[in-house]
Amino acid sequence: MPRWLRILVIGRNPKVTLVRAAVLVVICVLGYHFNALRHIRVEGISMLPTYQDGSAHFVSAVPYWLHEPRRGDVVSIRLAGIHVMYLKRIIGLPGETVAFVNGKVLINGEVLDEPYEKLSSDWTLPPEKLGPDEYFVVGDNRSMPAENHTFGKVERDRIVGKTIQ
């Protein structure tokens, strides 16, 4: 093997290259196992216009190693596992009361400012109090009938990670 090719493939110091490769493998395995970065493909229209049907993104649990989920975060929510998940936006935090009045979200009776909400909505739903470990999640596309839209309370341990644009 020519020297330049050998350097290209295994580096100047094979032992160091081996250690680097081992570290990289460990990082990849741990990253996958702990959902540090996971590729996702969106299906459906409930997060329009923010996330298009068929678009590809990444989800990461790393932000939630540092802090708890925040209002406005777009998160993936596991069902029985993580191969198919819901993608929703957090609008209500633990302990808050969430309601919908003529398409506006009320948090503890105050209107929530939602700059991401571009499509008109007429949803009116009575207030609901969240438990100490519950978040309220909903899609951005509330122009669709509420009965066609999957949303509601979710427990913290179902939130896998935050979507990276």
């Binding site: 590729h39 996702i40 299906e43 993936s76 069902l79 198919v84 066609n148």
Partner: protein
């Protein structure tokens, strides 16, 4: 050299024994996963199925369930069924095959817990259902309870899991309009 050869041969024999043991006496987890996967495959169908094939498939689907099974499927706005016993399951399965142009059931996630006495198990399952002619699939989390019987592991109860719960939304979840696939 002779010692090394003997050691390699012994290791190979042990590996073969372990492999045979797993093949001949599979763990309950493996059996139940296989049964769920086979059930999904058996319950799926495409258009153009003959009457005899329909009846045979319906019989096969029912065989996965205990005679006194309870099935409570509640996907508000979409499906609300409570079935009791194999006969009602057969009727429902036949009705689906008569009405729908096709059905594809997939189980992308199976989360299984076997009881310590190995006589029962609970499977938390993500069910992905595509109906022929419809663009969006229905994704729903379901819980299957298994009992070990003389006929093997049979499903004794099926119930809907509300992943996103809401007292104000008796109709949610309906379709899975927004899912992601990792």
């Amino acid at each position: 050299m002779k010692n090394v050869s003997s050691f390699v041969l012994l290791a190979a024999l042990v590996a073969l024994g372990v492999w045979l043991w797993f093949v001949l006496s599979p763990r309950p987890e493996k059996i139940i996963r296989q049964r769920l996967t086979n059930l999904a495959r058996t319950a799926s169908f495409s258009s153009g199925e003959g009457n005899l094939a329909k009846l045979a498939a319906v019989e096969n689907v029912a065989a996965y369930f205990a005679t006194n099974v309870e099935v409570d499927i509640n996907v508000p706005g979409r499906v609300q069924h409570t079935l009791m016993g194999r006969t009602e399951i057969q009727q429902a399965a036949l009705g689906a095959r008569e009405r729908l142009s096709g059905l594809k059931i997939q189980l992308p996630d199976i989360n299984l817990t076997v009881a310590p006495d190995k006589q029962s198990a609970v499977a938390d399952v993500t069910v992905d259902v595509s109906i022929g002619g419809e663009r969006d699939s229905i994704v729903q989390e379901m819980k299957f309870t298994f009992q070990k019987t003389a006929d093997g592991w049979l499903i004794s109860r099926v119930e809907t899991v509300r992943t996103l719960s809401s007292a104000i939304l008796n109709f949610a979840p309906y379709r899975a309009p927004f899912i992601v696939t990792a």
